[in-house]
């Protein structure tokens, strides 16, 4: 007997759950969204604004995909969840019964209660609707202020620069994204931001936003009383779970919808995953709320199994993430900037100050990699961390990890030299460049 699986939200989490449930079962799958008719890549909205891609291009699947895979898309807004009757109500008046319900409603941009935050020309950037609003808010303007660093902050700055709009960026911390990036990398990105002529103001907070007679923003006042004129303000001080829907539904929530390690809520057959879910018990070294594309996808994969009867814990393995700060790519694997007791950092930065390799390790083993402007292989780095390779064993094999295009200058030898110079008496040498095949398919590959 096939069940009705209802998924609220067609972002990466909802869609991944739908696809994997389809692979494993013949259940009826419904995906509801009021944001867009078809799944699109949220992280790619910036490329539409910058004119790299059309909206059509950021849809990961052709429109025919959904019908072919028998996944029903409903372009409507859920107004209410009734967990007793196992029904959801839609704005257009329909009521749909479910056997299992997955809530994947994502986030909303934080509005921190600034005076004037609802003025015209003040907005966050998360949804497709936000992008459309941005299009009209930034038409023919000259100057913008971004409030908050972080990933969306720098992406929004890059977007505005592409339209030749001057950008001032207000960051509360003393370094760009310094709660995540180690000191040196944070400085590198701060320098890079300024090279792009973004006016980066560190240790600066917005106090209020001032509007003109038409209710349109005209300036921002910082906490030190400085006025900065602008015609647009981007609010990028993080995002919070979008949980309005579950209030009054009996589903428990705190900041996000509370779930256990199986992504189950307090109510049977109701699950939550992705940005909107909050783990009652966070996994070691991870946050209760994970607001990353990759974690949303991995949560959905685990959840799909549970929904199909194969109860599976969310256990994502070694942490990874990536981003791009203007022209500098960023990749991280494992534990970086976490102040692990006994951790040591081996760091190399090129002369131009726009590429770096950082390896975090303990006396026992390597625990993290942080790359700026250099690409490393996830599979190799994760294997080294998982199998607790020592720092010297990693250094000897380091070129296996390099994933930069052919002919790119490689910096592995520089890093090893640095290790040797910092550790007198050590003489680690770069092992002969071993074939990739050895690193991926040798006999220990079974132990993943």
């Amino acid at each position: 007997m096939s069940e009705n699986i209802l998924i609220i939200g067609n972002g990466i989490t909802g869609v991944t759950a739908a696809r994997h449930i389809r692979k494993m079962s013949g259940n009826n799958i419904f995906v509801i969204s009021s944001e867009s008719e078809y799944f699109f890549s949220r992280t790619a909205l910036m490329y539409v604004y910058m004119g790299h891609e059309k909206f059509e291009d950021i849809k990961p699947y052709e429109n025919s995909f959904w019908k072919k895979n028998n996944i029903e898309l409903i372009f409507d807004h859920v107004t209410q969840i009734n967990t007793e009757r196992k029904q959801v109500s839609l704005k257009r008046g329909n009521v749909i019964n479910y056997d299992k319900l997955i809530i994947a409603t994502g986030s909303l941009p934080n509005k921190c209660g600034w005076k004037g935050q609802d003025l015209q020309g003040v907005q966050g950037l998360y949804s497709l609707q936000d992008l459309k609003l941005l299009e009209s808010n930034t038409r023919k303007i000259k100057k913008a202020v971004i409030v908050g660093g972080g990933l969306i902050g720098i992406e929004l700055s890059e977007m505005l620069l592409s339209r030749n709009i001057e950008v001032t960026m207000l960051v509360r911390e003393s370094g760009y994204w310094s709660n995540i990036l180690p000191e040196e990398e944070s400085q590198m990105i701060s320098r890079h931001i300024r090279q792009h002529h973004i006016d980066l103001r560190l240790s600066t907070e917005a106090a209020e936003f001032i509007g003109d007679e038409n209710g349109r923003v005209k300036s921002v006042v910082t906490k030190t009383g400085e006025h900065i004129e602008c015609q647009f303000i981007g609010l990028t001080a993080g995002v919070s779970p979008n949980i309005d829907l579950v209030k009054n539904s009996g589903i428990n929530y705190n900041c996000g919808i509370l779930v256990n390690e199986y992504l189950e809520t307090n109510i049977k057959d109701v699950y939550a995953a992705g940005d909107c879910a909050e783990f009652q018990n966070a996994l070691p070294f991870r946050k209760n709320i994970e607001q990353v594309w990759y974690t949303g996808r991995m949560q959905a994969e685990a959840l799909a199994r549970t929904v199909c009867g194969n109860k599976t814990e969310y256990s994502p393995g070694v942490w990874f993430n990536s981003a791009k700060f203007l022209d500098i790519e960023y990749q991280v694997y494992g534990l970086v900037n976490m102040n692990i007791p006994g951790e040591k950092n081996l760091y190399f930065e090129n002369e131009e100050g726009n590429k770096s390799i950082r390896i975090v390790y303990t006396d026992e083993s390597v625990i993290g990699f942080n790359l700026m402007g250099i690409r490393y292989r996830q599979e190799v780095c994760v294997k080294w961390i998982w199998e607790k390779y020592s720092i010297e064993k990693v250094l000897e094999n380091l070129s296996e990890a390099n994933f930069d295009p052919e002919f790119f200058r490689q910096y592995e030898n520089d890093l090893i030299k640095k290790y040797n110079s910092l550790n007198p008496g050590k003489n680690v040498s770069h092992g002969k460049k071993r074939k990739l095949v050895h690193s991926l398919f040798n006999n220990s590959a079974q132990s993943y």
Binding site: T43, A44, G51, P60, H197, R377, E379, E406, K435, V437
Partner: protein, 437 residues
């Protein structure tokens, strides 16, 4: 503290700098003179009109590209490409398409209408090979200038990527030497950079007779053509994939990778177009293999068996495929269908290389774990219309017959997910382990 060695102009609300304006003005005036050079006014001074209608716009374009150096840091340069009339099938795009298509039609079938334009190339032609210019000299020169000037643009736009720099220098060098200067100096105009079946006649019996008649050097040329087609092609493709030719050596590729670069996103990515592509490109391959075989059979039997039929089939192939498809449509439709229409749907050489690449090659585009965010940049900028992200988001290596290995997908990927690699053929089709996806 490290030094910042890179400096760019600040955004001023308008990055259309004076230098860019100068370059654009020179280019526009030059193109106007190019049109004027269709008239007999060129008789006044061919050299002057060559300077005004060829050198001036080229210099203008170069100045414009160099001005971009000052207004941006090294990195992916795709801002606004979907908005601009020239690159987004707008009025300028259509005008460019009509212009390019028209030029091809005139060069191939109505050279008499180009007489005045051809004459302005006389000074250069005399200087290079002592002969007056003709439509083919005009064509070769314009083609080479396009590759060189737009190659400089490619170098500037991709200056952060050593792969793109070396690859672009390679196509510029091959076009200038093997496909332009050297054929001009050797009497029979032989191109060392084109092979059967792209240059189908090189392995026809008629070429064999014609080339070998000119003695040792001709013998070598025929030998070269045969070795390149039957030995070098499979061997090089085994080790490096199709790219050793299509995006590093081939003249059609050279133009696509330089003049065609601003239009690469206009290639169709749908599953339907992939289907059409496979049918078309392999049909052309079958046709040219059959024609070549029949010509040889006929030749061995003194034109007894197929007679006029195979010769007229060859003529029609020359008209429809080599001239109409490869030339008029292949280049003329750049602004409308992307830069690789011919390479993708028609080139029989690409078909052979593709089959080899798919089944007998170490080449693949590796996907880095589970890092794909489905942003679509790789697919958008794939000139061959491969939906790269459909592989990347599944964690599946990209192994496609049509991939020419230009490396742009890897470059525009904002998460470092794609890498062009040569490795053991075993396991190259494997999916990533599930935890990484």
């Amino acid at each position: 503290m490290t030094q910042n060695i890179l400096n760019i102009d600040p955004p001023s609300g308008n990055n259309f700098t004076a230098l860019k304006k100068t370059g654009l003005a020179m280019f526009s005036v030059g193109m106007l003179f190019f049109l004027i050079s269709f008239t007999s006014v060129t008789e006044f001074s061919p050299l002057l009109f060559f300077t005004l209608s060829i050198v001036l716009p080229s210099a203008g374009a170069l100045i414009f590209f160099f001005a971009q150096l000052k207004s941006s840091l090294p990195g992916v340069k795709k801002n606004g490409i979907q908005f601009m009339s020239a690159t987004n099938r707008g009025l300028i795009g259509w005008t460019t398409a009509v212009f390019l298509t028209g030029m091809y039609i005139l060069i191939y079938w109505f050279p008499e209408l180009l007489e005045n334009l051809i004459r302005i190339f006389d000074p250069l032609s005399f200087a290079l090979n002592g002969n007056p210019s003709n439509q083919w000299f005009l064509y070769g020169t314009l083609y080479t200038i396009a590759v060189l000037v737009m190659g400089v643009r490619m170098l500037i736009h991709n200056r952060h990527s050593k792969y793109q720099i070396i690859r672009t220098l390679s196509v510029m060098f091959v076009q200038l030497t093997l496909a332009y200067l050297i054929p001009m100096f050797i009497q029979n105009g032989f191109f060392f950079s084109y092979f059967w079946p792209l240059k189908q006649e090189y392995l026809f019996p008629s070429s064999y007779e014609y080339l070998t008649a000119s003695g040792g050097i001709g013998m070598f040329m025929f030998f070269w053509a045969a070795v390149m087609s039957f030995i070098a092609t499979p061997v090089l493709t085994y080790f490096y994939g199709k790219r050793w030719y299509c995006s590093w050596v081939c003249g059609c590729g050279a133009l696509a990778e330089t003049l065609g670069d601003p239009y690469r996103h206009n290639s169709d990515k749908s599953l339907t177009s992939w289907k059409i592509e496979r049918w078309m490109v392999h049909s052309v391959l079958v046709v040219i293999i059959v024609i070549t075989a029949l010509l040889w059979i006929d030749n061995a039997n003194e034109n007894f068996i197929f007679g006029e039929f195979v010769h007229s089939a060859n003529k029609w192939y020359g008209f429809f495929i080599s001239a109409m498809f490869a030339g008029v449509i292949g280049v003329g439709f750049y602004p409308l269908m992307g830069s690789r229409v011919w390479c993708r749907f028609g080139c029989p050489m690409a078909a052979i290389l593709g089959i080899l690449q798919k089944y007998f090659s170490r080449f693949r585009i590796t996907v880095n774990g589970g890092q794909c965010i489905s942003c679509g940049n790789c697919s958008t900028f794939c000139e061959m219309g491969i939906d790269v992200k459909s592989y990347a988001q599944r964690g599946q290596n990209v192994i496609r017959a049509s991939c020419v290995g230009c490396g742009i997908c890897s470059e525009v990927c904002p998460r470092g997910v794609l890498r062009l690699e040569n490795g053991p053929p075993k396991d190259r089709f494997e999916l990533n382990k599930e935890y990484l996806r």
